[in-house]
């Protein structure tokens, strides 16, 4: 399988502090890959680096083989990478529909075509239709997460990066959100799930990577890695391939 998105020895820093030490991760078309690890392992930093929000060398990130590392974030979106950012980052003061329309507008402007429309999204998450006129800040956490996912999908991505979309949500809401995953993948979109909940990550993904202190410590097929292997990779130990 050829990779849609791949990183090659990805290194990233915050000022003097090095946060990633040569990370190699790849995603294939339509694949769901989970990225797990403890707090501060570098998962969110990895996503920020891929999105061009941190300075990285061009060769370190490739989209369908093309070097794209360090390009401006809006260019990344234009080329087909979307992110559901940590903390959702919705546009406050704007209605649910306007939040989503921003993405529709930009996809139109950039000439990105894909299977997602406002109507289809509202069919996937009916609440987005019922609350279309409501200001986003008055929505519940789960509903806000649906807006954030919707906004990312309306950019018509070929790669969707999700940063801790289950964080702080009730189990019922998490199930509701994860139930949308098959439909997203059916579109051919590759999905990367950054997750704190290991069980959830394992069940929702084809493959997983575990990070520790800025390095990948475990990678393998989600169905085949054992709890013990994850435990060792989570808290220390050498890189194991299963």
């Amino acid at each position: 399988m050829t990779a849609v998105l791949s990183t090659h020895g990805l290194i990233a820093r915050y000022g003097d502090f090095q946060a990633l030490y040569g990370v190699d991760i790849d995603l294939a078309e339509g694949e769901a890959v989970a990225l797990i690890g403890a707090n501060g392992a570098g998962k969110s930093t990895f996503l920020r680096a891929v999105m061009g929000l941190l300075r990285v060398a061009p060769d370190m990130v490739r989209l369908k083989g093309q070097p794209i590392g360090g390009m401006a974030t809006d260019r990344m979106v234009q080329m087909g990478i979307s992110i559901v950012p940590e903390g959702r980052r919705l546009f406050t003061g704007m209605s649910v529909e306007d939040n989503l329309r921003v993405a529709v507008d930009q996809a139109q402007r950039m000439g990105r075509k894909g299977g997602w429309s406002l109507a289809r999204l509202q069919a996937l998450f009916p609440i987005l239709k019922d609350k279309a006129r409501t200001p986003v800040e008055s929505l519940s956490g789960g509903q806000q997460q649906m807006v954030a996912i919707g906004r990312a999908l309306l950019c018509q991505p070929s790669v969707l990066l999700c940063d801790e979309i289950s964080l702080g949500l009730a189990p019922k809401v998490i199930r509701e959100i994860y139930a949308a995953l098959p439909e997203i993948r059916a579109q051919g979109t590759a999905v990367m799930l950054v997750e704190q909940d290991v069980g959830l990550a394992q069940s929702a993904s084809d493959r997983l990577y575990c990070m520790l202190e800025g390095r990948v410590t475990l990678s393998g097929r989600s169905a085949e890695v054992t709890r013990d292997q994850i435990g060792a990779a989570y808290f220390g130990g050498s890189h194991a391939v299963v």
């Binding site: 809006d74 979106v77 507008d105 990312a152």
Partner: protein
């Protein structure tokens, strides 16, 4: 009657101030930048307009047709050459850069046009007035107010309904998240400043028709725009419009009390609003 007249004149004066305030509210709302040379740009455009009128015999309408596109280009250049490099969390770089620009512009104008006051000949329109119930209302101030209302309405509609307006509001709310939906912040910023300065193209024509302009006048225009924005409450164009009305009325009433008290009355109302309602009359919270 005298006070009612002051009120009417104040509203008309507010129409002038609104044309300065809209651009300032827009730029601060989107980039959290105050362009210190805002007023100097009005004066620069006015002086260019006056020179165009005297060199080519342009009437006010022709001057406006020439000046507004020029203002748009000027705004776009200002953003590309200077403001895009200083926009950020720290307010100091943008303030210092635009402060330096203000100093340079003022003195450049002084060299080109000398310190004399000039005005734009309006072909009689500036002296026409209509009498309604014992109050004389100048035709030109009414046109200025009508333009101010039109511009506020158009700007508000653009922000709420258009693709660009949504991108602008998104960038104002969270610029990083906006870039994650494919918005190029620098392009949005350049367009916002182009619009803000473009509006000053209208303001310049009306300012030089209504009264005189001289190179040193920019500071006062900046302060009036600023006071209108703060009085009205940040973050809404109608807030800036209403703030302009309040400022205009305060100055007109102050002027009736004592001619030396007009501008001061405006400042005092501004300070009063700051003391009692710092979020502005229409601000949230």
């Amino acid at each position: 009657m005298q006070w009612f007249d002051a009120l009417v004149q104040g509203v008309l004066l507010g129409g002038m101030y609104a044309q300065y305030a809209l651009g300032m509210a827009l730029m601060f709302g989107v980039m959290r930048i105050v362009n210190v040379s805002h007023g100097d740009l009005v004066i620069l455009l006015s002086l260019i307009g006056i020179s165009l009128a005297s060199s080519f015999g342009f009437g006010p309408v022709t001057v406006m047709v020439a000046l507004v596109p020029l203002a748009v280009i000027l705004g776009w250049l200002l953003q590309k050459a200077i403001l895009n490099r200083v926009v950020g969390d720290d307010p100091l770089p943008s303030l210092i850069a635009t402060f330096g620009l203000s100093l340079a512009l003022q003195n450049l104008m002084l060299q080109i046009w000398s310190a004399n006051s000039r005005s734009l000949p309006g072909g009689g329109i500036e002296s026409k007035s209509i009498q309604i119930g014992g109050i004389y209302i100048g035709l030109l101030p009414v046109i200025v107010l009508a333009f101010a209302i039109g511009l506020t309405f158009a700007l508000d509609l653009m922000l709420k309904r258009s693709r660009f307006g949504r991108a602008l509001r998104a960038a104002a709310a969270d610029v990083e998240a906006a870039s994650m939906t494919g918005i190029n912040p620098r392009r949005v910023y350049a367009a916002a400043t182009a619009i803000a300065v473009g509006i000053l193209g209208f303001a310049a024509v009306f300012q030089s028709l209504r009264s005189t302009v001289a190179p040193a006048d920019g500071g006062a225009q900046l302060i009036y725009a600023f006071e209108a924005v703060i009085i009205g409450g940040m973050g809404s164009v109608w807030g800036a419009f209403i703030g302009s009305m309040v400022l205009g009325i305060s100055q007109a009433i102050g002027f009736r009390i004592d001619p030396g008290f007009g501008v001061l009355a405006g400042h005092l109302v501004f300070l009063l609003v700051l003391a009692t309602r710092p979020q502005g009359l229409f601000g949230k919270g």
